[in-house]
């Protein structure tokens, strides 16, 4: 069953230098309890997509398309209704745990405030719940830790707190933006283990550029390039049978795959190349690629690719 269906989604930032087309015509869906990985290079629009789903971008942003969540279009409802959805239905774990926690507020309070708001619990009960949540994300002696401040937590523990905050109201969908970024390898393993448990019960959109993370956690993977999706398939297919040249390049540039780089660099989102956005870096680019912008096509069942030559 589809939990969230995004169609034709566009997000644009008007800036003095021009319009930044950070998210461009994205179609995606996430089923219940499905874990979707969103992968792409820096600046390709992953975070913006996440924030667009939460409607957390500043008002000057232009958003088009539809985001149907459990039958309602999130882009059409009022801000108040949206606030109810945030945290309770869809939770987002932001990119950087160190800066994403309020430094002057106790960790427990930060977890509890959403619980109090959405579930109407008393201060006391909310705190109990917060302790429970900290325990759930394996923070030792949670009843002491609730009363501490973020700076008393290590990086990995802050990420756990972020996850606990996301889980607090038991949302149906969690958007996790780079949940393992900046963590040490051994800590990363711990967090991944935790995320794996989390994904068993609810749908999750994991934004990352770490393929290892995606491979281990996700059911399906979407690859994003310059604001749009270029390939979208199950994890197995992406890794075993990548169709888009960018996907192949991306996989090939992994150290374990021999470190074969994609030449050139990603385009600016203000000045996108005509035709296929990847063509300047693509080894197989033809005249057609230079002229015409390819559409997403379903090559196999559930395997979408944006390439004329796939």
């Amino acid at each position: 069953m589809t939990l969230l269906r995004i169609s034709d989604l566009k997000t644009q930032f008007p800036t003095p230098d021009g319009i930044v087309r950070a998210v461009d015509t994205i179609d995606l869906s996430i089923g219940e309890r499905e874990t979707l990985g969103l992968i792409g290079e820096t600046g390709c629009g992953k975070t913006v997509l996440g924030l667009t789903l939460m409607r957390l971008l500043q008002s000057s942003t232009k958003t088009e398309g539809t985001i149907i969540y459990k039958g309602t279009n999130l882009l059409k409802i009022s801000e108040a209704e949206m606030r109810r959805i945030r945290g309770e239905e869809i939770a987002m774990i932001l990119q950087n745990p160190t800066t994403s926690l309020n430094p002057v507020m106790r960790v427990g309070g930060q977890i509890a405030e959403a619980i109090r708001l959405h579930q109407g619990l008393s201060k006391r009960d909310a705190k109990e719940k917060a302790i429970e949540m900290l325990d759930a994300v394996r923070i030792p002696s949670p009843s002491i830790r609730v009363n501490e401040y973020p700076h008393e937590f290590s990086g990995g523990m802050k990420q756990r707190v972020m996850i606990a905050m996301g889980l607090a109201c038991n949302p149906s969908l969690i958007i996790a933006d780079e949940p393992t970024k900046g963590l040490d390898v051994t800590i990363k393993s711990q967090i991944m283990k935790l995320l794996k448990e989390v994904t068993e019960e609810r749908a999750m959109l994991i934004i990352t550029h770490d393929l290892g993370v995606a491979r281990e956690l996700c059911d399906r993977i979407a690859l994003m390039y310059a604001g749009e999706l270029v390939e979208y398939a199950t994890t197995g297919e992406i890794f075993e049978d990548p169709l888009h040249p960018y996907t192949r390049g991306f996989l090939g540039s992994l150290p374990s795959n021999g470190l074969v780089p994609i030449p050139g660099m990603s385009p600016s989102l203000i000045n996108l190349p005509d035709g296929c956005r990847f063509h300047p870096r693509c080894g197989h680019a033809t005249e057609l690629c230079r002229r015409k912008h390819p559409d997403m096509i379903e090559i196999e069942d559930g395997h979408f690719v944006r390439c004329f030559h796939a």
Partner: protein, 310 residues
């Protein structure tokens, strides 16, 4: 080429009651000419500090660094200035490695200017050469760092370093802030340059996959100490130290094997545990580990491990 003997650095803090942070503790290793030593370990274990100590950007507490037989710590200011060009370092963050208010060309020209080895008239020529060597366009010369991408800036850094004709390059996580595809470009470039100019590398990274490709030998650090050092192949195939094993299991992309998830977090380098520094997280901890600090012992050809269990 480079021999590090008992290198030690304690940072002290506090005016009245001094507290010592043992960032690097009695570290010894050798790098042969034209070879690469990979240095891996968790954040804060002292990798960067070792690099800075060798360059004498940080004052050492103890130990010796022999570079081509010259004791770097015994040099006076003048001698140091003379030898510094031969040892260079690439930093973690390319964006802050370049003065934001200086044009790329000026930045690259700076070492030439400061050393005056090349007459002013020929500098332009040399800069063009360097720029080509690192795969940039001549038009980039007149740009500012913020107008280039991270990968391009890291190339500029490389060009600048090449201008000095160094023998030893210390690369401190040169790609940790770059995308995988860009990382591949830079790493490949570094490899090419090494072949071409016969550079010796001390390659610092927290990513074992990267180190595997780059390094001839690998040194693994934990909390300021070397725990294991050996040929790359040996380390990957038969790691002896439980910490190295945990790192390896966490690193590989293709899942397969069961992960070794270490519990807890790295101890603080200020309140170091007695005995083996790793015992707090070690899955195979023994009584002895909590009392006695293990020494590096040779377990294979050029393969040393500091663990009571081997």
């Amino acid at each position: 080429m480079l021999e590090v003997l008992g290198l030690t650095k304690y940072f002290s803090s506090g005016l009245i009651r001094k507290r010592y942070l043992r960032a690097v503790d009695d570290v010894s290793f050798k790098i042969e000419k034209g070879k690469t030593l990979g240095l891996v370990g968790e954040s804060g274990c002292g990798k960067t500090t070792i690099g800075r100590l060798i360059l004498r950007l940080t004052k050492p507490t103890g130990g010796k660094v022999l570079f081509d037989g010259i004791d770097l710590f015994a040099l006076n200011r003048r001698e140091l200035l003379a030898i510094r060009p031969r040892i260079q370092m690439i930093f973690q963050d390319p964006d802050s490695s370049l003065n934001p208010r200086m044009k790329i060309g000026t930045s690259i020209a700076e070492p030439l200017k400061l050393h005056g080895t090349i007459p002013k008239a020929k500098r332009g020529q040399r800069i063009r050469e360097l720029i080509e060597t690192v795969g940039l366009n001549p038009e980039h010369v007149n740009r500012y760092p913020y107008q280039l991408s991270g990968g391009q800036n890291q190339r500029v850094v490389l060009a600048r370093i090449l201008a000095m004709n160094p023998d030893l390059i210390i690369a401190d996580e040169p790609t940790s802030s770059l995308d995988v595809s860009v990382q591949a470009q830079i790493l490949n470039l570094m490899k090419d340059l090494q072949k071409k100019f016969d550079h010796t590398y001390l390659f610092v990274s927290h990513d074992l996959d990267v180190v595997r490709i780059m390094a001839d030998r690998i040194a693994v650090m934990y909390l300021g100490r070397l725990v294991e050092i050996g040929e790359t192949g040996d380390i990957y195939d038969c790691a002896k130290h439980p910490y190295t094993q945990a790192l390896l299991s966490a690193a590989t992309v293709d899942g397969g094997k069961e992960r070794i998830v270490l519990k807890g977090e790295t101890s603080s380098p200020i309140d170091m545990p007695a005995g083996c520094r790793f015992h707090t997280r070690c899955p195979r901890k023994r009584e002895r580990c909590t009392i006695e600090e293990p020494e590096l012992v040779e377990v294979g050809r050029d393969h040393y491990v500091a663990c009571h269990l081997v």
